[in-house]
């Protein structure tokens, strides 16, 4: 036992004395993503009082409990709706949403596409672990076809959602995808997404070794992370490879980064117009 200095990042942004150690299972990628977010926020020197983190319900959605920002742990699937409320009321605030694949694309699918359509300035960090982790392993819209979940004991017959394509189709102006293994890249994408004005999505493919990994015999956490390393291809390499080599691989990179009028700006303009420029 000895006194050692705590990491600065812990003491600056986390509720490290009150809420740690966290409840996520050993090897769960959620903690890695939390670290990447903290580092990105630290790089941007965001003020804690001007930053909000909002989530719904799920393992990933427990994240706001651990950070010392303004936080809101809301209803399953409704994180983006609550975040929209905060952003409309305080447009100067940096609002991020942390959500799971089930939370954002199953029960919350409608909020997700319409926030993207409006291009409201939210940063959605979507932790995609291919399953409903918190409730014990039901299949989600991103469970790969053929994989086992507790509700698909003989294999899943549903085709999967490509979340980034969904967001782009709906009109999101910043869309990126990476994996928990590529933590440095995740940090950089999150940073760019936070800086971007408009709806931004960062999808982070992550490992749930305890439920999804166990049901599908994917091995322990290091094995699942090695698989992410092997099965993902950066955008640059992707464009050069022939089609047969891309099957079943994860495309990593910034898939879209463009500008379009932002919702709270447009709203402010409308208010000004209606009030006759007063």
């Amino acid at each position: 036992m000895q006194k050692i200095p705590q990491k600065i990042i812990h003491t600056r942004y986390l509720r490290h004395r009150k809420k740690f150690p966290h409840v996520w299972c050993p090897g769960c990628s959620n903690g890695i993503v939390l670290g990447a977010i903290m580092r990105a926020v630290d790089e941007l020197k965001f003020k804690r009082s001007n930053t909000a983190m909002v989530s719904g319900i799920g393992c990933s959605s427990r994240m706001p409990v651990y950070v010392d920002f303004n936080t809101l742990h809301s209803l399953h699937g409704r994180a983006i709706a609550y975040a929209t409320g905060i952003k409309m009321f305080k447009p100067e605030m940096d609002v991020m949403v942390v959500t799971g694949d089930g939370d954002a694309t199953a029960i919350g699918g409608n909020h997700f596409i319409h926030a993207a359509r409006r291009n409201i300035d939210l940063t959605v960090i979507l932790i995609n672990n291919n399953i409903y982790g918190m409730t014990g392993g039901q299949y989600s819209p991103t469970t790969p076809t053929g994989d086992i979940a507790t509700t698909t004991p003989y294999g899943n017959i549903d085709p999967v959602f490509d979340i980034c394509e969904l967001a782009m189709g709906a009109g999101a102006t910043f869309v990126a995808r990476t994996t928990a293994y590529h933590a440095l890249e995740a940090q950089s994408f999150i940073k760019q997404a936070l800086e971007h004005k408009g709806f931004s999505l960062v999808e982070i493919i992550s490992a749930c070794p305890v439920i999804y990994g166990k049901l599908n015999k994917k091995g322990d956490a290091p094995a699942m992370m090695n698989a992410m390393k092997k099965n993902s291809i950066s955008l640059k390499a992707w464009e050069k490879l022939p089609e047969d080599k891309l099957k079943g691989k994860i495309k990593r990179g910034i898939l879209r980064n463009e500008d379009r009028p932002e919702y709270t700006d447009e709203y402010a303009k409308l208010v000004q117009k209606v009030q006759g420029g007063k």
């Binding site: 006194k3 003491t11 150690p21």
Partner: protein
């Protein structure tokens, strides 16, 4: 041991509010905490917070230079301290904030 403070009412209130006004992390920046570490941490290139470590093995698996190794119970320890390049890979990939390979200042 870490001092896990009980939430008092003031803190509870602070956590629940949406709008925070207190923005003074400066005082908190360097805190000294009693942590179970093995050996002399001053000589070790990496700190491991055993209170928070869940023995998942990620840091050991991905340290690029093989500084870390696992004990029979799965917990990581510094085997080859001289090989550490302070790349902070262990730091970034640890899901439990339980290890830091950052260079000492």
């Amino acid at each position: 041991m870490h001092q896990y403070k009980k939430l008092n009412d003031v803190e509870k209130h602070k956590e629940g509010t949406i709008i925070r006004t207190d923005d003074s992390p400066v005082k908190m920046e360097v805190e000294y905490t009693d942590v179970k570490t093995e050996g002399d941490y001053k000589k070790s290139p990496v700190y491991i917070f055993h209170d928070w470590c869940v023995k998942c093995g990620i840091c050991v698996a991905f340290c690029p230079t093989g500084v870390l190794a696992r004990k029979p119970d799965g917990s990581p320890y510094v085997k080859n301290p001289e090989k550490c390049t302070h790349c902070e890979t262990c730091d970034r990939l640890c899901p439990n904030f339980a290890i830091t390979g950052a260079k000492k200042k």
